[in-house]
């Protein structure tokens, strides 16, 4: 076979697959979002953005991402650095830390609900220790802070490992000689982390952050399990438009808004963590 054609032939199946099951449905959703039955319109977008709950869901989603992602990034970096230094048992620790990845987000939400609910582990422990007289209902509208904290904890527990595995692989690729050179030339361990690890980890950081931030904007099941409707997020509203209000035009518009935010943040991350022109990392 013609060597120049071969690569295209080889990617043809996956291209067809993506066109059929991704691009085509995506175009259908876009069409739904931009029409109400009679031609092109922005009515669906107007409807969802003018709804009183929209600013709240937007704020909640962004707030949650802003609270969770930096903590996850710091934790993942710390854990990756620790794992990288380990001589023995490295794989075992890595496996244990990545267990939450194998659990569905709804299941993760339910696990943390089992901790925080009125008859949950936390209440049994607190009453056992005599901190509270009787079990208290923590996840109510009177305690928005606790609800937010519970969601944060669940998300951190559930999804830090996705960044961890990417960063562990990235750190492992940095040659030891760079650290030794930095050490000889006077860089403290902290300086080595700042001046060697972080810059050389940029490609991995990009991947990890993009993946994590996109997932953060799609948060749904954990919030649903822990807060019900107490803490509305964008994805929850999308679900409500589609299945409760049977307004698929509005749901499609919401989906596109989430997509737009994801693309915007992806571009920001790519820009901020770009590798300078000419530098090879």
């Amino acid at each position: 076979m013609n060597a120049r054609l071969l690569p295209y032939v080889l990617i043809l199946p996956v291209t067809l697959f993506l066109c059929l099951f991704f691009l085509y449905p995506f175009l259908l959703v876009s069409k739904q979002a931009f029409s109400t039955g009679a031609g092109f319109t922005l009515d669906n977008f107007r409807e969802v953005t003018s709804y009183w709950k929209f600013p709240i869901t937007m704020r909640n989603t962004l707030l949650l991402a802003a609270a969770v992602v930096p903590i996850q990034l710091a934790l993942a970096l710390l854990m990756a650095t620790m794992v990288n230094r380990m001589q023995k048992g490295r794989d075992l620790v890595l496996y244990v830390w990545t267990i939450p990845l194998g659990i569905s987000d709804l299941a993760a939400g339910i696990i943390w609900l089992a901790i925080f609910e009125q008859s949950g582990f936390l209440n049994s422990m607190m009453s056992g220790l005599g901190i509270v007289d009787k079990p208290v209902n923590l996840l109510t509208f009177q305690n928005p802070g606790i609800v937010f904290l519970a969601i944060m904890l669940a998300e951190i527990w559930r999804a830090t490992a996705i960044m961890l595995v990417i960063l562990v692989a990235g750190i492992g690729l940095i040659p030891k000689e760079y650290y030794e050179a930095a050490e000889v030339f006077g860089a403290s361990p902290w300086k080595r982390f700042l001046r060697i690890t972080l810059p050389l980890l940029r490609p991995s950081l990009q991947t990890a952050l993009i993946l994590r931030v996109i997932l953060a904007f799609e948060i749904f099941a954990v919030v649903a399990a822990l807060s019900g409707t107490l803490f509305p997020v964008l994805m929850g509203e999308t679900y409500a438009y589609q299945f409760d209000l049977l307004n698929s035009g509005a749901a499609a518009a919401m989906a596109l808004i989430i997509l737009a935010i994801s693309i915007a943040f992806t571009l920001i991350i790519l820009r901020v963590l770009r590798v300078p022109k000419g530098a090879t990392i």
Binding site: A181, A182, V184, F185, G186, I196, G278
Partner: protein, 346 residues
């Protein structure tokens, strides 16, 4: 003043003894080459001096100050790594200035020193580039400039030229020697390349199986190898060896020839460099096996009483494989080794 003193340094990796009781004093501004085959412990010794490795026992002092418990940055050293370790995410300027930045020197001082060392290494036009845009030789220059910019007391080099091609290596060898001599630093240079060692060093420290076998000037190491290992390792081709049996009163019988030698009662090994022999009427009888014309010389691999023997003769001689040669060793170049201790016998 940066005299380096290494006292009874030993290093053990698990059950493997990498270094045995190393003692070496390096004078201020001396250029010492640690020479040896791979796995002889030369890089380990260098890394112990640098502080990247800790000695199991022993002391290291630089400039009269014990440094074994100091971090590398507090030892007054700079280092050139085998794979250069030029940071790929920094420009050449920032690479050379890395150590100076870590010392928090003011910007104009960093700029002055970076520019001066860049000029010294002829890379001043590359300061804005990244390492990915440089050739191997240019990267090497950046690595050396980065070390020189620190104005260190001691500069440590771990096989710095081993990744360059032959021509570039020869060029850099001469240049490095000149730059280091001008910088007034003490230098320790690790290599497995004897030509590099011979041409650059004030003193060569030959290492073998974790021990220093001989530490002397290049010509001394070449002319008077202290042990059989040194004689066989240095020189290309290396020294020839033949068994010698005592023939009484300082006389030795070597391949049927009687020669003057040291007074010793037991059997010794006779050694001679291939270039220290002349065709003569009387001498060792050799049968030529392979003849290699090398331009300036003729390298002849022959057989003397079943032992392989090499001779370097003038290229205008005509020798064919199978020819019988009579080779006379130059008396003042003959060396003798004790086969039990492998050490030289005077």
């Amino acid at each position: 003043m940066a005299q380096i003193e290494i006292k009874n340094v030993a290093k053990r990796f698990g059950s493997y003894q990498a270094l045995h009781d190393i003692n070496l004093t390096i004078q201020d501004q001396e250029f010492v080459v640690l020479l040896g085959a791979s796995g002889c412990g030369k890089t380990t010794l260098l890394r112990i001096i640098a502080g990247l490795e800790t000695a199991t026992t022993g002391e290291v002092s630089i400039g009269g100050r014990r440094v074994d418990h100091l971090a590398p940055k507090d030892r007054g050293i700079a280092m050139v790594f085998q794979n250069y370790a030029v940071f790929p995410h920094l420009t050449v300027f920032e690479n050379i200035g890395f150590g100076l930045r870590m010392q928090k020197l003011p910007n104009d001082e960093v700029k002055r020193r970076v520019e001066r060392t860049a000029e010294l290494m002829h890379i001043e036009q590359l300061l804005k580039r990244y390492s990915g845009e440089l050739s191997g030789g240019q990267r090497q220059r950046v690595a050396v400039a980065r070390a020189l910019a620190m104005e260190p007391d001691v500069i440590l080099m771990d096989e710095p030229l081993s990744n360059l091609d032959a021509l570039l290596r020869m060029e850099m060898r001469a240049e490095l020697k000149g730059v280091l001599a001008a910088s007034n630093t003490t230098a320790i240079y690790v290599t497995h390349d004897q030509v590099e060692a011979m041409s650059m060093a004030d003193r060569i420290s030959v290492m073998h199986q974790g021990e220093i076998v001989q530490a002397a000037s290049p010509i001394e190491v070449y002319r008077n190898p202290a042990a059989e290992f040194v004689a066989g390792f240095i020189g290309n081709p290396p020294m020839n060896f033949l068994p010698a049996t005592p023939a009484g009163d300082g006389k030795w019988s070597v391949a049927g020839q009687v020669m003057d030698g040291p007074s010793s009662g037991k059997s010794l090994k006779f050694a001679i460099r291939p270039e220290d022999m002349r065709p003569a009427d009387e001498g060792l009888t050799a049968t030529a096996r392979v003849v290699e014309p090398l331009g300036a010389h003729l390298l002849i691999t022959c057989e003397v009483q079943g032992s392989m023997f090499r001779a370097v003769l003038d290229s205008d001689m005509s020798v064919k494989p199978g020819d019988q040669l009579t080779l006379a060793p130059q008396p003042d170049r003959m060396r003798w080794f004790d086969p039990d201790t492998t050490l030289a016998v005077a």
